[in-house]
Symmetry: C2
Subunit: 410 residues, 2 copies
């Protein structure tokens, strides 16, 4: 079963919007066991849209178009579908009524433009899920099918998950379930991870199930994805769980989390389970760690807060620290202990380096000190981080949180 | 002159990487006056790559392939080009030598795999810019051309700007220059901006030069792009400058910046020019404003720093403030004034709201208080921000900085 995705909209070709929908759909199709060999972007031009959809139907069993179902003059996907299917457009008053009700529930009256969203090519059916004003469509063409979904990401996703993926699997006669789990690592390069897992990957190559794949994610580390096929979900979960155990034996504490977990969620959970609290003094990272921690601990249960002493002269005023030894290992230790005391937390963390003092870039641009105060003498870890200033700032955050994680696990 | 982009890599189809390269190239082609009607993604499969490149050459004058020029077995773009051009591969020892030197300069020896990057289809020339190990290629096919660039974004961009865009313009005989300028607005909806500019857009529709276009950018506001064509750069700049004056007359202070400027850079520049300094107490925004400000004021010349009192109980310890009236307008005023005093700055800012206290979501989820202390009684602006918690946090930052901008301009 092959299905290809056609993203519609001149704004995509002009680079005004990046087409993230196709990437998401590609990932979901792969997980559903559906092959997808091409993705195309085409503008709001009837002739070219028709040509792309026809080509898709020729070389694949199904096509998903994304975009062009809105109420404006540019939204001509419905017309393109009529041309490909060689049918007339039928107006559906019950769809118009549903859209009118949707507007009314927001206290607004429906503009006349939205009426065209109630036009459906003859022979097409409407996708039951409709989170917005645009109905999605299922258009049979001989023994193949075109699905049309709106370009609004959450509307598209609801229709994909609710209707299109199950329908494709049914058409493909797929009774297999594909599941995957992502293990997240920090501290090894991709080539080092490959070495550590090389023997296991060779073993798995013989059966092809489960599989292991790497994915570099920059400032979030390197992911190892385990994918398993089985006849039911519980069997797939068992295969994944067994493989996860093996991979964890090989990679140990380089794995910091899985799936929806992030470095910050893992660290907050570790602290919470130990009844501990956290404060930060961020110089290198300038608030990035705080923004991430506060996103998932909104009322400050574990993350009590931070000080960002961006100017050297405020360090004394706020933390009671001497303004000397800026950007040094000593400073990192003082900052971590200073913020721990000021906020009355179990743990104080800090980031600093010579690069925070301004001036010219030099060969020490990435040299960063990470302070960890847990009572007693603060510990300072020295790391050399790659990339430009913004990457150094980002890497300092995950390096710092990982250092605390490893410290808590010892 | 038509040019289409083909992004190569199975990881793009599987959604493991989002193809942002094609979006950037699409934008640059449009600015260069080159039409681009299709963009395609195809996996690392020789037959399908050849088919896509041939199709591109049939319907366009030029094709740019992006990706598949690396040193691994998956990197087969060179082989696909040989097939399309119907020529043999030629090994170029001088390219191998250049790659070997590149490795040596990093203190490493060149792996043998990289030797294949010195293979070039007969008749192709190498793009002079080569920031990484992968040479870019120019492959003439009859009176058309294929450009092949690596998928590493900065390598691709260097080759596009240095060679491909000028070469395409020369081939197209384009002696026109297209320039554009983006005016950034905050505070009006797209439909309100359309109304304000409606008459002007109608006038411009008659000549078609310059043009105005809107682009919604979510948490960064709405952009108005002025694009002008002319025979030389100075004439295009004049057209843009005249149009910018007209648009500024119509939109006034809703325009906060242009092109590379951001809300934070504009606010820091305003403060710097007045000899003023800034500190923040971020509760709702939890460090997001600090991360943005510190990114562009690394040594704290204007942005002295922040406190993020995530837990209510630390507010007294750090800012000397009572822990009462959490999440209220009074609290916003106290926080702004408190952080101004603690850091000894000219300006103190704050974000807070009931949503910071945890607990259930309610209808006041987006109600946020923005405190501005400039000496004297702190001012508090109350705003109702849309979306989920993360959007409210992001919107609070741009709303707060914009409020300060307007206050400084009065």
């Amino acid at each position: 079963m092959r299905c290809e995705v056609i993203a519609i909209g001149t704004e995509l070709l002009l680079g005004q919007i990046t087409d993230t929908n196709s990437s998401w759909m590609g990932g979901e199709l792969a997980l559903a066991g559906i092959d997808s060999h091409y993705q195309t972007k085409v503008g709001d031009n009837l002739e070219r849209m028709v040509e792309c959809i026809r080509q898709g139907l020729n070389r694949s069993d199904a096509v998903i178009t994304c975009g062009g179902l809105g109420p404006t003059q540019d939204d001509i996907t419905r017309a393109a579908l009529c041309a490909v299917m060689n049918v007339e457009m039928i107006h559906h008053p019950e769809i118009a009524e549903r859209i009118r009700t949707m507007f009314a529930s927001r206290g607004r009256s429906m503009p006349n433009n939205n009426l065209q969203q109630a036009d459906v090519p003859e022979g097409a059916t409407v996708i039951p899920q409709q989170p917005g004003t645009a109905p999605g469509l299922i258009c049979p063409v001989d023994n193949k099918v075109i699905y049309a979904v709106p370009g609004v990401p959450h509307e598209m996703r609801t229709m994909m998950t609710g209707t299109i993926l199950p329908d494709l699997k049914r058409r493909a006669g797929l009774d297999t379930v594909i599941k995957s789990r992502v293990l997240k690592t920090w501290g090894h390069s991709e080539s080092r991870l490959s070495e550590l897992l090389a023997d296991r990957i060779t073993e798995l190559d013989e059966t092809g199930n489960p599989t292991l794949a790497f994915q570099a994610s920059g400032i979030d580390g390197i992911k190892v994805r385990i994918t398993a096929k089985a006849h039911d979900a519980s069997e797939a979960s068992k295969l994944i769980a067994a493989e996860e155990t093996r991979v964890r034996e090989l990679l140990g504490r380089y794995i910091f989390g899985a799936d929806e977990q992030s470095m910050e969620s893992v660290v907050l959970d570790l602290l919470r389970s130990r009844g501990m609290s956290l404060a930060l003094a961020e110089i290198t990272s300038g608030g990035i760690a705080s923004a991430r921690l506060s996103a998932i601990d909104p009322s400050g249960d574990v993350f009590y807060g931070s000080v960002i002493p961006a100017a050297g002269k405020v360090r004394q005023a706020v933390l009671g620290l001497p303004a000397t030894s800026l950007g040094t290992a000593d400073a990192a230790g003082q900052l971590a202990e200073g913020v721990r005391t000021a906020f009355g937390t179990s743990v104080g963390l800090s980031t600093t380096g010579q690069h925070d003092l301004g001036g010219d870039k030099d060969s020490n641009a990435g040299l960063t000190y990470l302070g960890i105060a847990l009572g007693g003498q603060a510990e300072v870890e020295q790391v050399r981080l790659p990339g430009d200033r913004e990457r150094v700032r980002q890497y300092s955050v995950i390096s710092l949180l990982n250092a605390l994680r490893l410290r808590l696990l010892t």
